[in-house]
Amino acid sequence: MSRKGFLPLGDRMTEGQMPMHLPATALLRWLQRLAYRLGIRGRGLVIAVPYLWLLLFFLVPFAIVLKISLSEALIARPPYSPLFEWVEGMYLEIRVNFGNYLFLLDDSLYAVAYLNSLKIALISTLLCLLIGYPMAYAIATADPAWRSSLLMLIILPFWTSFLIRVYAWIGILKQNGLLNNLLINLGLIEEPLAILYSDLAVYIGITYSYLPFMILPLYATLERLDRSLLEAAADLGCRPFKAFLTITLPLSLPGILAGSLLVFIPAVGEFVIPELLGGPDTLMIGKVLWNEFFTNRDWPVASAVAIALLLFLVIPIMAFQYLQGRQQEARR
């Protein structure tokens, strides 16, 4: 049996040159033209989906964090006081509580944690740059046939689990770990070094985990660098090292900045690395936030810590966005 039998309506619509059909198409076409003229072309709709998603799940949450940072902790579910309340349906009561922020200023633990996070992130970023720049330069100037393989080797660890890579260092840096065993067997040291659970271990961990983020933008700028610039410099009597300092380095500055921000910003708020590799006195703000939230269950203070951390990071994040935007423009 043909499917037509079930669909009398569809039948009429496809076979009969029904009078409804033509005006409908004409109307549709007219609407299309109108939209085209207004410059809409369906793009408003297209933009709306990711736009609304990101508004709801990225931007609105920050407003809520701000709101809750201004409320009081309660032993309840959820454990904070409401900011707005309708009192007997008469008027809106707004209770703003700056206590959480005052508390952050009061207890020197927080100030120390913020400063320490900045210090650790800064030193780790420098370490990444020191190790990453020569590597990026070496890859960018390597034989093109080798380049993609070398680059792949940089990216490969990034695809394997971050947590596992940090974990690998525990076995190496432990009191009776592989590094200490090796050094003792070589006779270089008598007593095992206490590297794990110290700031040094955190530096190693961050540098190790974030190195690809430094190398990739560096490589991108160095690879685009016109090699004939260096030849021109040599031709004009400039020695290789001087040429590097006066030509390569300044021209790779955007890459240096992008890589540094890509390492620095997330490193400031890093939690896993100081938790697994750092010692009890390795204060980092990510760890403090985590503990306020999970151990003390003080959501308002955790929110205040997050807002304060964001304030620290606003300038570097905006710098990163500016760089990113300029890079996209330049590629146009």
Binding site: Q32, R33, L34, Y36, R37, G39, R41
Partner: protein, 380 residues
């Protein structure tokens, strides 16, 4: 294209006041923010023309072309194609196809699929589609490469695929954005003639954008010279070359010598201009009326000038100077002559005989002469 569409087009339809323009650009302006890319341009293009928009980079020619295609909307004014206002018609509904400067071939499709793409959008049935694709590929002599992908083609082959792809829908108007710019010099010259032949075969109206004045001169029926969003002159290649209306056009198209001067006599059959540069009066036989006392420029093409060592014995259209530079180009030689006023004049003369001993050499004192019809008076 099976029956070559040799429509008997009039030779110069723009001369006929009864001929309806095929494309009418009516007061079109395009602004990007504060920048005016196209400034109040009106011009008519007739059926079967190969029309060139000529100008330097940033003159607005590409923007005008993109408005014809529908990628940009005019800020003001209207475009009519075959009598239909195009303002509200999006590019995918216009009877217009474009050949892009970068060719814009779809990298993931074969030559055949690329050429057939436009027909598939119109839901042309399979057998007809294949027939028309084959025909178009035959036209550009690429029938044997239809299973290749764009990256397996040379630059010239890619250009032909792009041409076939834009012709296969038989558009009312074919737009070509710098069609030959990506080819090397030798291929470019061959392709110029081939493109003109194809245009005559298919009878489609072509509008071409180019920055290359030689290309515009050899290929087109008429040229619109553009500068800074303005239409500076419109005419046949010969008109534009022989009668430039402004200094810009005179200098943009070919080489020219310009002498500044004062109109001292304005008769029905000639004007006389007194020039400090040449030291003699300039006689121009065919100029329109220019009031006495106007400051004007006289343009003389280098190939219309002659050099002699002996005084020519005329009072007008003559200049005296010394030879500064000589460039031997094989078929002709270029002489740069410094006049007593300091003006440098460029003269080209064909090397009709085998030159072993050049009669005129560096530092010679020479006379430059030119006929009465050679000069053009420019007031702008």
């Amino acid at each position: 294209m099976s029956q070559p569409n040799r429509r008997q087009t009039k030779l110069e339809p723009w001369q006929d006041p009864n001929e309806e323009p095929y494309v009418r650009i009516d007061g079109v302006t395009k602004k990007f923010g504060d920048f005016t890319a196209v400034d109040d341009i009106s011009l008519n293009i007739y059926r079967g023309e190969l029309f060139a928009l000529l100008g330097g980079s940033g003159c607005g020619k590409t923007t005008l072309l993109r408005m014809l295609a529908g990628f940009e909307q005019p800020t003001e004014g209207h475009i009519y194609i075959d009598g239909v206002d195009m303002s509200e018609i999006p590019p995918y509904e216009r009877p217009v196809n474009m050949m892009f400067q970068s060719y814009a071939l779809f990298p993931h499709m074969t030559v055949e699929q690329n050429v057939g793409f436009g027909l598939r959008q119109d839901r042309v049935p399979g057998p007809e589609l294949r027939h028309r694709v084959d025909e178009a590929l035959e036209l550009v002599k690429l029938g044997h490469l239809k299973r290749r992908k764009p990256h397996q083609l040379s630059g010239g082959q890619r250009q032909r695929v792009a041409l076939a792809r834009s012709l296969v829908k038989r558009p009312k108007l074919l737009l070509l954005d710098e069609p030959l710019a990506a080819l090397d010099r030798k291929l470019r010259e061959e392709t110029q003639f081939e493109l003109v032949n194809i245009q005559e075969q298919v009878g489609i109206t072509f509008v071409m954008v180019t920055h290359d004045q030689e290309e515009a001169m050899t290929m087109s029926t008429r040229i619109a010279v553009m500068d800074a969003g303005w239409l500076v002159q419109l005419g046949t290649p010969a008109e534009i070359y022989e009668y430039p209306r402004s200094k810009f056009v005179a200098e943009f198209i070919g080489q020219v010598n310009l002498f500044e001067g004062l109109v001292v006599e304005d008769q029905a059959d000639h004007v006389l201009i007194q020039s400090e540069a040449t030291g003699s009066d300039l006689h121009i036989s065919h100029a329109g009326s220019v009031p006495v006392g106007t400051r004007v420029w006289v343009a003389v093409r280098p190939e219309k000038m002659a050099l002699s060592l002996e005084p020519p014995g005329v009072e007008q259209n003559v200049a005296r100077g010394t030879v500064d530079e000589i460039a031997y180009l094989g078929n002709l030689s270029i002489y740069l002559v410094r006049l007593e006023s300091g003006t440098i004049v460029r003269v080209t003369s064909p090397n009709l005989t085998r030159v072993t001993e050049m009669p005129i050499t560096w530092e010679d004192d020479v006379y430059i002469t030119w006929p009465n019809y050679a000069g053009v008076v420019i007031t702008q």
